[in-house]
């Protein structure tokens, strides 16, 4: 399978995992290990960035794990840019998951503030991975300002409803020149597989793993599903069709028409 490359960095896993909502940091660490994931999101509001004993950070020390700080909690571009700059300094990474949701109920991303912040952060040398609605035009606009990938949602955060935005994801995947990571809403391994089959470059999963009765087993299930989905995509799915078959009565008529 082709490895995934974002901003020049190669990932062997196309599954990204969020670190919130687990029953303990130990459980989080084990589930991430089982998932095979190499990029984990960390909420800046949850960690004490300058504290080496920080419970979450100290459980994410494995060498193959890359940290992707997220700005969850900020409400506008100004707050996001400020948080990003602090994160870069304290965590020593210029990778950033840009999340701006002024709506605390459904955590819907604010497209206007995200575009503003993305432009500024890219200029400032950040590798920006923006969380957005599945909006094809917004994806193109973000691509133009230089983001490293786009992260459209499949369904509202934490809803486990799957690929509710499928038709728009299809357009985004078709048009995008940067990797497309389906973020939010993926509740089952089969939904993750479906996203990869469609051609999504990766998926980000949190609640579905963290809240499962057995997060470690679920992490592994997602790993397998993501691999299967990607493998199927690369193997080129057999065409879906039932219009014509060898026994169809239309064939002699077609033959008559075309080979007359």
């Amino acid at each position: 399978m082709k490895p995934l490359v974002i901003a020049g960095k190669t990932f062997n896993s196309r599954l990204f995992v969020g670190t919130g909502k687990f029953s303990s940091s130990e459980m989080m660490s084990r589930a991430i290990e089982a998932s095979g994931c190499e990029l984990v999101t960390v909420a800046l509001k949850r960690v004490e960035m300058e504290n080496p004993q920080d419970d979450i950070l100290s459980h994410l020390k494995a060498p193959h794990i890359n940290l992707l700080p997220n700005t969850s909690g900020v409400r506008n571009a100004k707050e996001a840019v400020f948080a990003a700059q602090l994160a870069r300094e304290a965590l020593g990474t210029n990778w950033l998951k840009l999340e701006i949701h002024p709506d605390p109920r459904y955590l819907m991303p604010d497209p206007i503030e995200v575009l503003k912040a993305a432009e500024e952060l890219v200029k400032d040398g950040f590798i920006v991975m923006p969380y957005i609605h599945a909006d094809p035009v917004l994806c193109k606009r973000l691509e133009e300002v230089g983001v490293a990938c786009v992260m459209p949602l499949g369904a509202p955060i934490g809803s486990n409803k799957g690929l509710e935005t499928k038709e728009f994801l299809r357009i985004i995947i078709e048009q995008s020149n940067v990797p497309v990571v389906v973020d939010a809403g993926i509740g089952t391994p089969s939904q993750a597989a479906a996203a990869l089959e469609m051609g999504a470059d990766a998926v980000l999963v949190n609640t579905a793993i963290a809240v499962a009765s057995d997060p470690v087993a679920m992490g592994q299930a997602f790993r397998l599903a993501v691999e299967a989905g990607r493998m199927a995509y690369e193997a080129k799915l057999a065409p879906v069709g039932h219009e014509a078959s060898a026994t169809s009565p239309i064939l002699p008529l077609l033959d008559d028409l075309l080979n007359h």
Binding site: G20, K21, S23, T71, E79, P104, V211
Partner: protein, 384 residues
């Protein structure tokens, strides 16, 4: 237009009768829908729903895990002052109570914060009585300035303020304000609030509107359970929540469940409408079914045993090791308590109990630097 205009047309007794008349069929309908109407909520807090507690709790559990995962946030109240000009018949700080009155000096506030910091608390709730000349706006600002050196999320439970005063306090890191209406029953409200500024039902009721207009991140609602019929109170609290959610979509909301107990002694306040733990369970689950995202907070007014048992079924925030006296963390004393603590466990014991239930105790879920008004200030950069 504020919530006052919304609630004014409602008649308390009619609402109470409407809830009492709900049937099991109404409850079943409420349990079969994803988006509750106020009528559905009325069914869930009605006597008819008492036979459906296990269904309600099961759903409440599932919704809470999906939205909040296995995280339980911890916070601590810090009482700055028990000086109060209000005469509220149910409260230990009642101005007619002959107790020693005190307000912490900056040095004492530092000492309290340092005592609290033996645990990893990052969320602090500052509490005062209502006394504009002692716990003034400037006093609160100064206390918050001190808090910034120790904590990442600073909340207030103090007298209601004006919009511009909330705007002013945002510069000092104000994150959330909790202001409980005590009772939504406008006609009976004066019976409990005899003297002081708190006698103004409307000003208190409109406080969440002012907070939202000021852009405070989170607003806490609640009523004092036991003063009036708790089912009717819940209906109006829920109505308040719905009103705010629809109007101020940027604000986060929280609901608390302060519950009065029957009082054995002679001098204490004995509530006319006490609610049982089972009632409280029904209430907590009903709110969770009403709103998937509202924070539900349970204080140490409830017993350790009940707090441990209810924890999985909708609660997202708890206090631990609380003292409700000014100076209580450096010099514990029961004499000055605002209300009696029923869960006297230390923060470490509560933390262990949370873990034993399979949940992750979360001490920090906010950073001061994420507040726009803080950007550029010393607090934002010196305490990552």
């Amino acid at each position: 237009m504020t919530f006052y205009d919304t609630i004014l047309p409602y008649d308390w007794e009619q609402t109470r009768a409407m809830i009492a008349a709900k049937t099991p069929a109404d409850v079943e309908r409420a349990l079969s829908t994803d988006r509750l109407t106020m009528d559905d909520f009325a069914a869930l807090v009605s006597p008819a729903a008492e036979g459906y507690l296990s269904e309600m709790a099961t759903r409440s559990y599932a919704i809470t895990r999906r939205r909040f995962g296995n995280a339980i946030q911890l916070y601590l109240p810090l009482y700055l002052s028990n000086i109060c000009q209000n005469q509220c018949v149910y409260c230990g700080f009642n101005c007619t109570n002959k107790i020693h009155r005190t307000i912490l000096t900056p040095e004492q506030i530092h000492a309290e914060a340092q005592a609290i910091k033996q645990y990893p608390f990052q969320h602090i709730l500052l509490v005062t009585g209502e006394a504009p000349h002692s716990s003034s706006l400037e006093y609160l600002a100064e206390a918050m300035r001190i808090m910034q050196q120790y904590f990442q999320q600073i909340s207030l439970e103090v007298q209601p303020l004006d919009t511009d005063q909330y705007l002013y306090l945002k510069d000092f890191g104000l994150h959330a304000v909790y202001v409980y209406q005590e009772t939504y029953n406008r006609l009976r409200y004066p019976r409990y609030h005899l003297r002081g500024r708190k006698t103004d039902y409307r000003y208190r009721l409109e406080t969440p509107d002012r907070l939202c207009e000021a852009g405070v991140h989170k607003v806490g609602l609640g009523n004092l359970i036991g003063l009036e019929d708790w089912r009717t109170e819940a209906y109006f609290t829920a109505l308040h929540l719905r009103y705010l959610e629809n109007r101020y979509w940027r604000t986060k909301y929280s609901i608390a469940f302060p519950r009065l107990r029957p009082y054995e002694g002679e001098d204490g306040f004995n509530p006319d409408h006490p609610a049982t733990e089972r009632n409280l369970t029904q209430l907590i689950c009903a709110y969770r079914l009403l709103s998937e995202d509202v924070e539900l907070s349970l204080s140490t007014r409830e017993s350790a045993s009940y707090r441990d048992r209810i924890l999985p079924f909708g609660i997202t925030v708890i206090s631990a090791g609380s003292k409700t006296t000014p100076g209580g963390y450096t010099a514990p004393s029961h004499e000055l308590e605002q209300w009696e603590i029923n869960d006297g466990r230390s923060a470490a014991q509560v933390e262990a109990a949370v873990r034993a239930k399979g949940f992750d105790p979360v001490w920090k879920d906010w950073s001061l630097f994420m507040q726009q008004e803080m950007i550029g200030s010393d607090a934002a950069t010196s305490h990552l």
